[in-house]
């Protein structure tokens, strides 16, 4: 590898490490209440909510910082913030 290669920052996930460790509340998804509007996914600042088939969602907890925007924006309260255990 050339020396200059080291100078260039490459796009990669987790540039601040495993940001999921920052979380004190974990979003928990209640499938039965979900109307699949995808607002949570659209407004997630961290971009960790993935749309699965039939527009159900999937959280990537590795990087989710647990800000709670998804839970507060959900019109049907289908996302609940649950305190993390040790």
């Amino acid at each position: 590898m050339k020396h200059s290669e080291y100078l260039i920052a490459k796009p990669s996930k987790g540039s601040a490490g495993q940001t999921g460790l920052w979380r004190s509340f974990r979003p928990v998804y209640h499938v039965e209440r979900c109307i699949r509007c995808l607002l949570c996914c659209f407004y997630c600042p961290e971009d960790v909510i993935e749309v699965h088939y039939h527009r159900f969602i999937l959280f990537h907890y590795e990087y989710c910082k647990g800000c709670g925007i998804c839970a507060s924006i959900c019109p049907e309260d289908a996302i609940e913030m649950v305190e993390e255990e040790e």
Binding site: A9, P11, A16, C37, C41, P45, E46, H60, I73
Partner: protein, 301 residues
């Protein structure tokens, strides 16, 4: 349909993947991280970032959080560097949307070059993500901080007026100027898309409520951004040949339809201990701002 957004847009048509990758160093509930998602509507965006929160968000050396080209520049030079880049891209025949993503701090400090680039009508997009203080250096008040908001340099509440940056930029006679809010992302995306179809200097002033700086819970970013619009404290408008108040703000032209301002103020720690007279004063300032913009709408039909 997207609640609170432009009715003509379906959520499936909106970009969902951000140009900002997960696991970046932004705070919990960061408004910039929400706003940056909108950049994916642009074709081949090149970001120019002066010092500020977004510089930190862009990542720590061996890893980069953006998957688009980023140029870090000093405060005052952002718009000047963008002008140079636009000129060289034009010469080389590179098709790219050059976006200067700056905070209100960089817009204060780099105002000379920003104004210069606007006067020369350089082919760039400038987005000022305004969290109403210098958040990255520890919440010092800026020229766009609201009157009476507490910051570390104004512990008793800011005594100066808030500067209307978007209107100042509009008065440079640029082809496109708009205000937007992270609470109404579809509206911001629409505006960014419309801006990208125009040549010349385009300016968007994005309202970004900052959880640690304004002292509210990280889950309330979008809610408070929406409250700012619903109470009339932040007015969404667009100018592209003609001036108009855009859809999320339209119902609030009528003062009686607005949510009481107290709803917005009581959610934020920075307005803690505000007296009733101060709240009335803020209300009259908001009313003045509405009068000013509605008069604009009449003039620039």
């Amino acid at each position: 349909m997207v609640a609170g957004g432009d009715v003509s847009m379906k959520i499936d048509e909106l970009p969902r993947r951000s140009s900002l990758l997960p696991g970046n160093p932004s705070c919990q509930g960061c408004p910039h991280a929400i706003g940056l998602k909108a950049l994916s509507v642009l074709e081949n965006p090149v970001l120019i970032i002066p010092a500020g929160c977004t510089t930190i968000i862009a990542g720590i050396h061996p890893k980069a959080a953006f998957n688009v080209p980023v140029l870090h520049v000093p405060f005052a030079s952002a718009a000047a560097v963008a002008s140079g880049l636009a000129a060289s891209y034009r010469k080389e025949g590179v098709e790219a949307s050059i976006v200067v993503w700056m905070g209100d701090g960089a817009a204060d400090i780099g105002f000379a070059t920003l104004s210069g680039a606007a006067v020369r009508n350089e082919d760039i997009i400038v987005v000022v993500s305004d969290n109403e203080a210098y958040m990255n250096t520890g919440i010092q008040s800026s020229s766009t901080t609201s009157w009476k908001a507490r910051t570390t340099t104004s512990p008793g509440g800011k005594s100066e007026e808030k500067k209307d940056l978007a209107a100042i930029m509009l008065m440079h006679r640029i082809p496109y100027a708009a205000t937007a809010s992270v609470g109404y992302l579809p509206d911001f995306i629409n505006k960014l898309k419309r801006a990208s179809e125009i040549d010349g200097f385009r300016f968007i002033h994005l309202h970004s409520p900052c959880p640690p700086g304004w002292r509210f819970d990280s889950s309330k970013t979008v809610e408070i951004a929406r409250l700012a619009v619903k109470t009339g404290a932040w007015i969404l408008w667009e100018y592209s040949g003609r001036f108009r108040i855009t859809s999320p703000s339209k119902p609030y032209k009528d003062g009686s339809k607005r949510v009481p301002l107290e709803e917005y103020i009581k959610t934020q720690g920075r307005f803690k201990g505000l007296s009733e007279e101060d709240v009335e004063e803020i209300k009259s300032k908001i009313e003045e701002q509405w009068k000013f913009l509605l008069a604009f709408e009449e003039i620039f039909r």
